[in-house]
């Protein structure tokens, strides 16, 4: 699988939730270890990337930041363990999945 198979996919819980706007990985401590998939960022309104605006404290340039944050409002992060099934252009989440903050620490 390649990452563009996941980006833009439609995400469903019981109902349609949004689109995969990005995929988050976590790097292991030791050098050379591969980065493992942590979760997917789900945006209810847009397939495109949010350019990091909704994931950090960046607020400038404010017109662009405001527009991007509005387009990606109510975005959330779903962890790998909450993904029940991957299909072509579709991700099904497990019942009782949890929404986490999409913000980067």
């Amino acid at each position: 699988m390649i990452i563009t198979d996941l980006l833009g996919s439609r995400v469903f819980g019981p109902d349609f939730l949004g689109f995969v706007s990005d995929v988050r990985f976590i790097r292991e401590d030791s050098a050379g270890r591969p980065a493992r998939l942590y979760g997917v960022l789900v945006s209810p309104h847009a397939r495109s990337s949010s350019l990091g605006f909704e994931r950090s404290g960046v607020r400038s340039p404010w017109p662009i930041a405001a527009l991007v944050r509005w387009r990606h409002r109510n975005s959330f992060l779903v962890r790998w363990n909450d993904i029940e099934r991957l299909d072509d252009d579709r991700i099904q989440l497990r019942p009782g999945f949890q929404r986490a903050s999409p913000e980067l620490p």
Binding site: D22, R36, Y38, W80, N81, R85, D87, P105
Partner: protein, 140 residues
């Protein structure tokens, strides 16, 4: 329902934000490629994923003719993509730095081919240009 453990303290990488479209430099700082895609390890597709299935990992950076398909949709054939193993990465920042030289990568095969088969057959094409000197021995 899964664990709510929030271990968001590690070094995070968002694919679009931190990896895709980044310039890749080799160990000498020579541009190698741009990251067009990421190759993941095996993921069960089209079937239910058991809850304890380990998450996929990034196995390679992919580069190739992917720009048009990312704009207009679809995907380039895998044969058109060249991979750089994840293990070759030394540092991820504004650019992605590799710990190996460009010549050791499959990615640079076209440049090597042109260098060896075309440029190398031109007289003087197999060595770097000599510096010109003035009559007094100083550099021009």
């Amino acid at each position: 329902m899964t664990s709510n453990t929030d271990d968001q303290a590690g070094p995070w990488l968002d694919a679009q934000l931190h990896l895709l479209d980044r310039q890749v430099l080799d160990v000498d700082g020579v541009p190698v490629a741009v990251v067009d895609d990421l190759e993941l390890s095996e993921v069960p597709v089209g079937q239910e994923i058991p809850i304890d299935t380990p998450p996929p990992v990034i196995t390679a950076l992919l580069s190739g003719a992917a720009l048009a398909t990312r704009i207009f949709g679809g995907r380039p054939p895998e044969s058109r993509m060249q991979s750089t193993p994840w293990a070759d990465i030394a540092e991820i920042g504004v650019v992605i730095k590799l710990g190996v030289q460009r010549d050791t990568l499959d990615l640079a095969w076209t440049e090597r081919w042109v260098r060896d088969r075309i440029i190398g057959r031109i007289p003087g094409g197999r060595h770097i240009p000599q510096q010109e000197h003035d009559d007094d021995g100083g550099e021009s």
